[in-house]
């Protein structure tokens, strides 16, 4: 199963995305790295690294992030982990909430890394029209 990591400046956002995603895919490996180590708003490359390592079950990890600086922290986290694992860790170019939910469902169906990444990316096109 492809693991999912949710990176947000806010631990509330990260935890909330996880709870909504898990509703659709009970027990899937979804890990969060929300906020700074001291509970503030921001991102923490070390906790992102830990979340990636926890989410990895051998089939790769798709990471979703909220803002630009979260993206940079993900980049750093990837440089800090085992290079063999880093190769199968992909940051989705996708909106955080929408991408995470779609990716989690896709991953829970046993789809490979590339498919999960694509599904996350496709969430960019999700339309919201009353």
């Amino acid at each position: 199963m492809v693991g999912i990591v949710i990176v947000s400046h806010s631990s509330k956002i990260a935890e909330g995305v996880k709870e909504v995603a898990l509703q659709m895919a009970k027990n899937h490996p979804v890990y969060t790295a929300g906020g700074t180590a001291d509970g503030g708003i921001g991102t923490d490359p070390v906790r992102i690294q830990e979340a990636i390592e926890a989410a990895n079950t051998g089939d790769g990890v798709v990471v979703l992030a909220d803002l630009g600086s979260a993206v940079m922290s993900v980049g750093l986290a990837k440089e800090m982990i085992d290079p063999a694992l880093a190769k199968s860790v992909k940051l989705a170019n996708a909106p955080l909430v929408e991408g995470a939910i779609a990716a989690t469902v896709e991953a829970s169906m046993g789809s490979p890394l590339a498919k999960v990444l694509q599904t996350a990316h496709d969430a960019r096109n999700m339309d919201k029209v009353e």
Binding site: A37, I41, G42, P45, G68, M72, L76
Partner: protein
């Protein structure tokens, strides 16, 4: 003149300007740059104090980089963290830094920031202080100046760079949300870069 003392001076200068940097970030960002940077150096300085007194510049800079990465929380964390790690990579094994090495370290830091943040000069970031600083440093070397003199020129160029950030609109980082409305405000990251260069310069000049 030790790398540990130099870092202590740099860190204390940043911590001293915590409120100033935060106020700058309040105007065009999320109002945490000073808080982030001060938290970063508060976490870094004890680690530096605990290092061996062997003046291993690379080891000390690596500790700064790792410390900032794990404590800053904002964009400045991965950016300065990468910068210090790359600077460390450019002075491996050295216990004294000549002008050419210093320039190589500065350029490695800039390259690291660009690899991480994908910004160019003119996007209203720390690069608008650091790239002019590097250019001035290079001119100093060409003119036969020593490392500290070159750094003095670099500081002046960085200050001009900070002034320049007031005239341009941000296209990278949070300030880019404001677009044109960011004009008129100086960039917090360019300012903190200049504060660090200035503190280093003052320390080196006085120790010389």
């Amino acid at each position: 003149m030790t790398v540990k003392d130099a870092i202590k001076e740099v860190g204390q200068a940043v911590i001293k300007d915590k409120v100033f940097l935060t106020d700058l970030d309040q105007a065009i960002g999320d109002g945490d740059h000073g808080i982030n940077m001060a938290r970063g150096f508060e976490s870094v300085l004890p680690k530096i104090a605990a290092l061996a007194d062997d003046n291993d510049v690379a080891a000390a800079l690596k500790a700064v980089g790792m410390g900032l990465i794990s404590s800053v929380g904002g964009a400045a964390g991965p950016l300065y963290g990468t910068a210090f790690l790359r600077a460390a990579g450019a002075c491996k094994g050295k216990t004294a830094i000549d002008a050419a090495t210093a320039k190589a370290m500065l350029d490695a830091a800039i390259k690291g920031i660009q690899d991480r943040g994908k910004a160019q000069q003119g996007e209203k970031t720390m690069l608008d202080a650091l790239i002019p600083a590097s250019d001035a440093f290079a001119d100093g070397i060409k003119a036969g100046k020593n490392a500290v003199e070159c750094l003095g020129d670099a500081v002046q160029a960085a200050e001009k760079g900070v002034e320049y950030t007031k005239k341009i609109s941000a296209t990278k980082g949070r300030a880019s949300y404001l677009g044109e409305r960011s004009i008129g405000h100086q960039d917090p990251g360019a300012t903190s870069s200049t504060i660090m260069l200035t503190a280093l310069y003052k320390y080196l000049k006085q120790e010389r």
